[in-house]
Symmetry: C2
Subunit: 237 residues, 2 copies
Amino acid sequence: MDEKLWKIGELAKATGLTVRTLHHYDEIGLLVPSERTQSGHRLYGEADVRRLYEIRALRELGLPLQEIPAALDGDPRKTLEDHLTRVEQDVERARRLQSLLQGILERVDHASGLDYMEAIQAMTLLDKYYTPEQLEKLDTRRQELGDAAQEQYHRDWDGLIATAKANYERGTDPSAPEMQEVARKWRELIDAFTQGDPELLGSLKTMFQEEGPERASQGQIDSGLMEYVGRAISAAG
Amino acid sequence: MDEKLWKIGELAKATGLTVRTLHHYDEIGLLVPSERTQSGHRLYGEADVRRLYEIRALRELGLPLQEIPAALDGDPRKTLEDHLTRVEQDVERARRLQSLLQGILERVDHASGLDYMEAIQAMTLLDKYYTPEQLEKLDTRRQELGDAAQEQYHRDWDGLIATAKANYERGTDPSAPEMQEVARKWRELIDAFTQGDPELLGSLKTMFQEEGPERASQGQIDSGLMEYVGRAISAAG
DNA sequence: CTTGAACCTCACGTAACGTGAGGGCCTACG
DNA sequence: CGTAGGCCCTCACGTTACGTGAGGTTCAAG
């Protein structure tokens, strides 16, 4: 019995794919029709059709076309397991990004006078240097502080940085009493926030050290100033 | 005071981007250096540098380059909200795919004699036509049935389809007693599985109707046979 | 003045097709 | 039996965000 031969348009309609897609699969050798008419029209046999359904099924799972031949000819198990791993990573990435974006929008809503770029850069930094658990801790701290206390906290920082900057530009010695005062308050503010949690403190340090120069180039904190404060803190023991 | 001008290599190192990336941003007009040397070397001013940090921040959120100018010049709020929506959809898709893949691997492990392509096609179909809640119901049914009963169930279906097919090919009238018997058992099996849940039954019907012709072309169930059984069931009232 | 590093401009490759352009083939209708 | 509309063919460029050379110029230090 001579099997039914499908023309490309028929097959496209039957599978819900497009003619162009079948052309593409032919081009890359994924599904080459087993026959052609004299004039060059593609003719797909029943084996071709079965293979196409399998290809489509694997594609719907998000498998790259490249990996489909191996899955069809060899052992699909490993291909599927590897793919699952990839998908799990996708989920993780997307979820992390989601909470990051939510955090940014929320923060801009609730913090007065915070502009978007600041919020984005701050959150992105936090996301890069803290684990999700640490972030949760930070969030708890923030909630414990309350809105009013938070703004006070920011004002304290602003004032402290301004004072430090003034001393820095004036050339005050880091071990001078006025800078020792700054160093003490600086540590107090950090302690108040991290509440002595060594991991939080560690992440904070890493962040300052690695991002310092970059933030400097944005004009936010001068890297010389950073170093100057560091010396003052060291001098304070 | 004349601002510091950055050469492309310096800027690349400072931001962790590549020179090629900066070339690209220049090409598409996202970040055009405000100056060039006589010889054509790019020179980035401080405003350029600030803009680049903002671009990088938005890129790290996964924003397409196309949308970044709007976010920088106009209102970032809407851009970010739209992006969040996209990301939420990504999470959904990836999670759905994840559980689909897990289901396939699990099923191949536990069901004897089920090959991968069958499992994939079956699961993909289920995923397409049932809501997650319905799938949970189905899973509950399966667990209630137990392994042995499940295999019995499959054998029942196989036998029933074989009988129906024989009658179909023999040209038996759909209202003949032997086909009425088949129709009765057919409904019994479906009822046993859906346990009278009208939603489950609805999804099952939709699936059969829409996928019937396709499965037919795979040689699994003949579309003529499907219709024939349908007539028998109608005749049975 | 000479290198070696850094810079420049093309320009092709990536994944999986979408979307025409320009031109044969096929079949039903008149 | 001719033709018109539909289906088919083969290029070939566009999409995203760059990576990766190729081939040639410029800069900065010795």
